[in-house]
Symmetry: D2
Subunit: 377 residues, 4 copies
């Protein structure tokens, strides 16, 4: 029980100190295109807030390595003001609840929550319960009753069948959510995740683009748990083939959830388009969206805060289709970097039944980049 | 050749006189829900313009019974100002070109054109050619190069394999397009169509709804060529079973294209929703969307005329989701009435190889409605 | 606690006796097209099993009127053998989890479970937990980890925010599931539901069709909670207008989940088509799929039991597209009848805070059918 | 007229000699993953046949640089035996007719035809006309009446508004279609196309994979006309940034049509999945699927030749979902190589109004690959 409390405290996750402590891809000399925002994180898109609860308890038979990540598009104002949203399922071997309503209404109402596969239900109902605690639902009784909860499988390193995520962990992540620099790697819903046979987890990145003299930010957060080793490319270098696995390679299993936020004003059908481009960033890493991989993406815009208050008539601003390319490109770029950030921030983990995953060795990776002319000092 | 010219003259289709001459369902005493606009036609939605070319030539072996219908969302201003649009394929055994771009961009750029199955290509390229004649394409060279052309099969009564529709017929329909009352039944692309084993064709209807004190109009135009006799219901009366076919019944073959226009300001994803409701009006007629039926629907909004001019930033007004129900209901109602109007306006036709189709007998239909308590004097 | 146990006992739901006791639409003289199976129920499709847990406890402030319905496509063999499946969202203001994987894989793996909106999460994780109790997941660890759980809102008559459905209620419904005649009306997930302003709930129906000399059965189960009073049609009679609500009418809110089962061999993309037709049956009842209505449908085929065992090569049989029409029509017919059955079987209910809903008055309904020539003795 | 005949003769396109003459990416030392088939072409998938008509006439104001490419899934047997098929629109700023029926039926009936944007209509109706010449349509009259015709824009180098493609050019390509090695670069529908600011056009590639001891082939043919220079990557090397354009860069405009063929037995919904992976190969080239790019993909399987003959019951074999990964990966790999092959085979072209495009300089490219450790001798 003491352990549990300690763990919940981790949900005060996002301190600048903590965030500053973990290594990032760019700092290692990995080259990326485009211009990141000041934090190079989804939280560069104001007023997006992120919260984590990380559960790391025990060892051996029932070791717990799991957690919850929450993304509140408008921080606390998320309670009252939906965002325009879209989504795309590149390979639907996964769960993202609440998407029927996103596709139908064009709105995301409430937070996006990420966790392990077997905790989606608990997290979903907890999001509703938390909402109820914050005040009354709207007249229809439906408001925020269709929460968006997505998952990737953490049963390799964690006791998934133990159902260790509880409602209070969700509440803690929601209560602790805030803007600013955020932790990456073995945190939140991404605690036990693996990419291309390396330890992986949560990663983030952002891009700033200028459209007709106006500056916009687009940020990405991934919960990354996908990929075959042999296919891994970083900055175009075939890293996976150069760092082969010693044990037999399991193929492109696992899953990746990608959340894209932007303050550029976009309509729902345009956000579907943005969500599709997340898969193109994933492709550059070497994914072929294996059958076992749940690759599901959601995108939202924090603009048009007054557009969805249930009025009979609403006004919305939007970027013209002919001016979207930089946002498309930014999505591809930030997705790629967010995944690499997840890999670089992750640390070796030993979990359930002694299963373990090593993080990608930074020095060896830098060596390869230099060898292939892709090191950027 | 003389015949041909004579036929093209028919494309001056839409005179009030002509339109006033054909019978309509409501006037016969068939009850419908909702309040129609002044013309009870898609042209109640200003500035929608409609044009027809009707080709009726010869008899016997190569009899021609075909044509072209054009719907210009903004009349001549369609050339410069796209409309927000959406679509839905209830059963895709048919063609509607240009829909990849509607779904992607949220815009319909140019007219919607309806014809017989084997003329879609000719009509498509003719729409481009006409556009080129009106002025230069935009800088990208792509403007209006992805025309929306839909079809239903007219090979039962017309020599479809003779490819009788030519570019000039398309030009004539475009040039002759205008607002006001429009012809129904055996006209335009609907010339040779059949519904539920009766002669059918082109039909239209509209509804006026009030949302938060504001009045909006929604109009429907159908090119109807679908349906099994035994399933036909009119105003809930099982008319098809009460007027069985004498020859063996072919099942729910054929197709129906439904075009929905509204001046209510709706976003593209909301217009997808409108398009879905067209299928619910079809269902009330007794359709089960048979495998052989191409049931494809497009919906557009004439509001937000300045929203799509290619600017970097645009403003759009839209009805809130919670206020859409009357528009949904209007779509169902107007679709149902437009189909019945097509049946009631149609006249007996003898076509290729002596094939024939009789229009539904009006007096007998009225008798049935009376018998089932559904006659509205 | 005693109450709770008593309630769970209700999950032994499906006795012929109990089922025989509730009235059905056909027996009242309501005419329907097509030929039903022996039970006129989804369980005519062998080996489909259905289970319910019905929770009716207390009165007033926190009255509980809720439950769980489970549909196991292959009964207990569902554990090992997925079914080909498809789905369709007519209006996505609702939840059906697990559909990303249905759409991707073409398979439904495990049961379909129906409950109230705020219990989807609990039910989802409970389905996983139950599966774990039955034996080991497959090698990938993913088997049956993406349960299909759908909902309609029962917060009008039940204390939805009390989260009264617990894992043991799900287990009880699963354990109690079986074939044979099944209860309708105020049972299972449908306990507190309302249609067109009348008490409603769970309903079922089936059709037998013959394709090329072979007999197939298609069954439907609905959890029905949708519809405006004024739009209600039964057998084409405008019943809703003839039985107007005394209190102000709330519009087409609520939701309806429709589950279609068939033993006809169909491929996944064909089952998407079947699912679409469910919406056409709904349309005939007077629904326009209001914005507030979550109208989401799933269809599966119990044929091809050996097709999905994870082999590298599999054989599947399927009905040719040109022979699907009777199955399409059966879907429309059985959906319509299942909804009417839900209304006819439902009984008056008083629930949370004294909210109440009356069942449709049978005698008055029969009178109307007679008046409109639609009574079938 | 003499010119025209000469041009048509080019449709005898596919001689081994001709094909052997054009350079290919692999021979230059560009490294690709996976094992190609003997021809490294879509025609490695028996019995796929390909035909081209290439139109190169005149210079200056109305220079013609266009053509038609046809892909017959079963060669001449395509007339009688559809193939299972799927499709995906990554960015729908383009046309591919006939896809409503592919998505609905799961079948591709007839050839896939590729041309320039303004010739889609002519080509579509010509495919129908050719089919009529080959024999009677089936009983329904619908067979092969919904042809699949896709386009990319060739108005930069060719007089698109001159509508130079005629029915006889389509007939010639169909008549000339055959298996064996096929031409690449400036041929067929790809004659005038450009990629990443370099001359491009038609390209092809294939992969052989083994699934449970069985060998399958997957082939890709692209008509490539997309991409920003600065984003071009070849084998992971940022070639575009290293070979910047001298004139202002137009962004990721244009389009790419990707056709995937395989002899692996796959069901329609699995072929949708294959089509999606084509976009991941495109992503590796540096595309972000710009707004102006019509990126539409179709995939078909030549297996199950007897499955679609209209019988009431059919048998189909299919690869289990858990065994699809190598086919997914092959799609990504072959798409990437087909695009590079199109670029490498293309030759400098001067077209309408003196517009010109240079092919990528082979020697300089090889130099870059060497410099970045990606040259494979």
């Amino acid at each position: 029980m003491k352990t549990l409390l300690a763990v919940i405290m981790l949900s005060a996750c996002c301190g600048t100190t903590l965030a500053a402590e973990h290594p990032r891809a760019r700092a290692l000399g990995i080259p990326f295109d485009g211009t990141p925002g000041p934090l190079n994180a989804i939280t560069d898109v104001a007023p997006v807030a992120v919260g984590y609860t990380t559960l790391i308890e025990g060892a051996g038979a029932h070791a717990v390595r799991t957690g919850v990540t929450v993304i509140l598009p408008r921080g606390r104002a998320t309670l009252d003001k939906p965002v325009f949203a879209g989504m795309f399922s590149l390979n639907g071997n996964g769960e993202m609840t609440g998407t029927h309503w996103i596709e139908e209404s064009g709105f995301l109402e409430g937070p996006v929550t990420l966790t392990g596969t077997h905790s989606v239900g608990t997290v979903r109902d907890a999001v509703i319960a938390w909402r109820i605690k914050q005040g009354k639902p709207d007249a229809s009784g439906y408001w925020w009753s269709l929460p968006v909860v997505a998952e990737t499988w953490d049963g390799e390193l964690s006791d998934a069948n133990g159902f260790h995520v509880k409602a209070e962990h969700v509440f803690a992540a929601l209560e602790g959510s805030r803007g600013g620099a955020i932790a990456e790697g073995n945190v939140g819903g991404g605690t036990a995740m693996m990419c291309h046979g390396f330890k992986c987890g949560t990663g983030t990145s952002s891009r700033v683009v200028e459209i007709a003299g106006q500056s916009y930010t687009l940020g990405v957060l991934v919960q990354a748990n996908y990929g075959a080793r042999s296919e891994l490319r970083i900055a175009g270098v075939p890293v996976g083939k150069l760092m082969p696995m010693k044990r037999p390679e399991p193929g492109d299993q696992g899953s990746i959830i990608i959340v894209v936020a932007t303050d550029a004003p976009l309509l729902p059908h345009q956000l579907d388009r943005i969500a599709k481009r997340a898969g193109m960033g994933l492709a550059r890493m070497g994914s072929y969206a294996g059958n076992g991989s749940g690759d599901i993406f959601v995108a939202f815009s924090t603009a048009n805060a007054e557009a969805a208050k249930g009025a009979a008539l609403n006004d919305a601003r939007f970027v013209g289709n002919d001016h979207l390319d930089d946002l498309f490109n930014a999505t591809v770029q930030a997705t790629e970097e967010a995944i690499v950030n997840a890999m670089i921030a992750a640390r070796d983990m030993r979990g359930e039944d002694g299963h373990y995953a090593n993080a990608i060795p930074h020095a060896a990776l830098v060596e390869l980049l230099k060898q292939y002319g892709r090191y950027k000092r």
